[in-house]
């Protein structure tokens, strides 16, 4: 089978790109990568180590314009005879994969968490992670958008050739006016470790102990919906059913009761630690490790323990 993987890493190869190529390799076939962005040829060639046979790159395509990216991928799919096209389920994929589905009349599976089963059905999370489903694709051509952090990248091969590719993508209909990048923060959707806090912190002035723990761990910070709604923390930190859904390796929830809507945004986390004064907080039922205690006492102790751990070799 001919498989085409689209990646949009801007300056370095994102882990999600390596995951997508690894995923294609696990399905098996002739794997071509089509890339946009400014990653150097030599770096793109290392995708061969994860299973790519060839990388096609068109650096003129603007990822903010889903029409341009769709034209590029459609042309690459045609020239490689791709029967399966794989995305990592990020902002660009959420705009482009549905367009490509219409253009190629290829059924789209969004947010896959596993390789297709023996019947070709693909497992996805549904009901905001409260359940899973298997999707059958009826069309000949198929598109799968892989949920990040579902597969770990695996090196199996060696570097592959990289070729310039003219996607004939046309002009961009979307103009980027401004990009605001706050310094020094770890982006929440990419973070492998997350420290999150809720109303139990009693006020925005108390977030220092949360940030200290996050800093000691190298974690991103997040918050519950009430905390974002009353303006203690910025909206982009709100995780939950109506905020950001995340699936880090470790989610530490401090002073968050664990309403069903909050759990929907974090139930993909590999390990959940809950710290709460209330032993009856529903979040403990979804936790792997629990600490009943006052955040203002527990967090500084945990931060010290993490610092001690980090300062000794393991």
């Amino acid at each position: 089978m001919n498989i085409l993987v689209y990646i949009n890493s801007s300056d370095h190869l994102a882990k999600s790109a390596l995951e997508a190529v690894t995923y294609a390799k696990k399905i098996g076939g002739t794997i071509t990568v089509v890339a946009t962005g400014s990653v150097a040829d030599a770096t793109l060639g290392t995708l061969g180590e994860y299973g790519a046979q060839k990388v096609l790159v068109d650096r003129s395509v603007a990822t903010e314009d889903s029409q341009q990216v769709t034209r590029l991928i459609a042309k690459a799919a045609e020239s490689t005879g791709a029967e399966l096209i794989i995305f990592s389920h990020d902002l660009v994929a959420k705009a482009v994969a549905p367009r490509l589905s219409v253009r190629l009349k290829a059924g789209l599976v969004s947010g896959a968490v596993d390789v297709p089963n023996a019947s070709g059905q693909v497992k996805v999370n549904v009901f905001s992670g409260k359940a899973f489903g298997f999707v059958a694709v009826k069309s000949e051509k198929k598109i799968i958008s892989l949920l990040p952090n579902s597969f770990q990248p695996e090196k199996t091969g060696s570097v592959c050739p990289v070729e310039a590719f003219d996607g004939a993508a046309g002009a961009s209909a979307i103009k980027v006016v401004e990009t605001k990048m706050p310094e020094g923060e770890i982006p929440l959707p990419e973070a492998e470790l997350v420290v999150s806090a809720g109303r139990g912190l009693k006020g925005p002035e108390n977030w220092g102990i949360v940030e200290d723990l996050a800093k000691a761990l190298g974690a991103a910070t997040a918050c519950s919906r009430p905390v974002a709604d009353i303006g203690w923390r910025p909206h982009h930190e709100h995780v939950g059913q109506t905020g950001v859904a995340i699936r880090p390796n470790l989610y530490i929830a401090v002073g968050i009761s664990g309403a069903i809507q909050h759990l929907a945004g974090v139930n993909g986390s590999k390990v959940i630690v809950v710290i709460n004064t209330d032993p009856e907080a529903p979040f403990f039922k979804a936790a792997d490790y629990g600490v009943v205690g006052d955040a203002f006492e527990v967090l500084p102790k945990l931060t010290e323990a993490v610092k001690k751990f980090r300062s000794t070799p393991h």
Binding site: A97, R99, V102, K105, K138, V271, E297, V298
Partner: protein
């Protein structure tokens, strides 16, 4: 401004999720359907705010059967001017999007808004599919949307920050948190909704490309391990040795 807001039904956010018919069907027993929160709180309310500022008309559209008219009336009560129901089971995202695109093509909308995804299928597919079927530009997961003349200015959260983009109308936008605040319909709105026009349109002949063949519930978590609040070294050791996450 002619604005079209696409709405979908979804189970209430507190619904118990269960399956029936050998795990092939969602168990609707006792489930209360609502307007999908992303469609209602962000797409519909921002659409209304734009209409109130710029003038014009806001139409809501859904693909569904007669039972879905309850959510249509709710959206009308919040302030939409009129509604269209395409009389079909929304078989998959492709089927739904092409139905909406077919209607929208012949009705000249300046702006088509959807929520960023539904809370039941989380596919984030319909808006992009509508845009492609209509050959329109598309901005996904916008957290802000303003219109100035024939130009739309939007913000999107990108990895590590925020991106401000502009595009010309007509345009398709999917809406995420930050764009507007939830509106509770008042009694006047609820009364007015009863008499607002609701057009039922026969579906176009469109095939579906995907199908959910089976569902399941995640295995229950093993019991939580409680740690002494005075022994955080133990928690760190467990996270390293047992959970292997640090």
């Amino acid at each position: 401004m002619k604005i079209l807001v696409c709405i979908s039904k979804s189970p209430d956010t507190t619904s118990k999720i269960a399956f029936t018919d050998g795990n092939k069907q969602f168990d609707e027993n006792g489930v209360q359907y609502i307007v999908n929160p992303y469609d209602e709180w962000y797409a519909l309310v921002r659409g209304l705010e734009l209409k109130e500022t710029l003038g014009g008309n806001l139409t809501i559209i859904t693909v569904g059967n007669a039972a879905d008219e309850a959510i249509i009336r709710k959206a009308l009560a919040i302030g939409a001017d009129d509604a269209v129901r395409i009389d079909a089971d929304p078989k998959d995202a492709y089927f739904t999007a092409i139905q909406i695109a077919e209607y929208a093509k012949s009705n000249g909308f300046d702006l088509i808004l959807t929520g960023k995804e539904t809370i039941n299928y989380n596919g984030s597919q319909v808006a992009g599919m509508i845009a492609e079927a209509m050959d329109l530009p598309f901005v996904s997961l916008a957290t802000k949307l303003d219109i100035n003349g024939s130009t739309a200015r939007m913000e999107q959260e990108i990895v590590g920050g925020v991106q401000v983009v502009e595009a010309n109308l007509p345009l398709v936008v999917s809406c995420a948190k930050g764009m507007a605040e939830q509106r509770i319909p008042n009694m006047r709105g609820i009364m007015a909704a009863r008499t607002k026009p609701l057009t039922v349109v026969a579906p176009s002949a469109v095939e579906d490309l995907t199908a959910y063949v089976e569902y399941g519930l995640p295995a229950p978590k093993s019991a939580v391990k409680m740690i002494d609040p005075n022994n955080m070294d133990e928690l760190v050791a467990l996270l390293h040795n047992e959970a292997k996450v640090i």
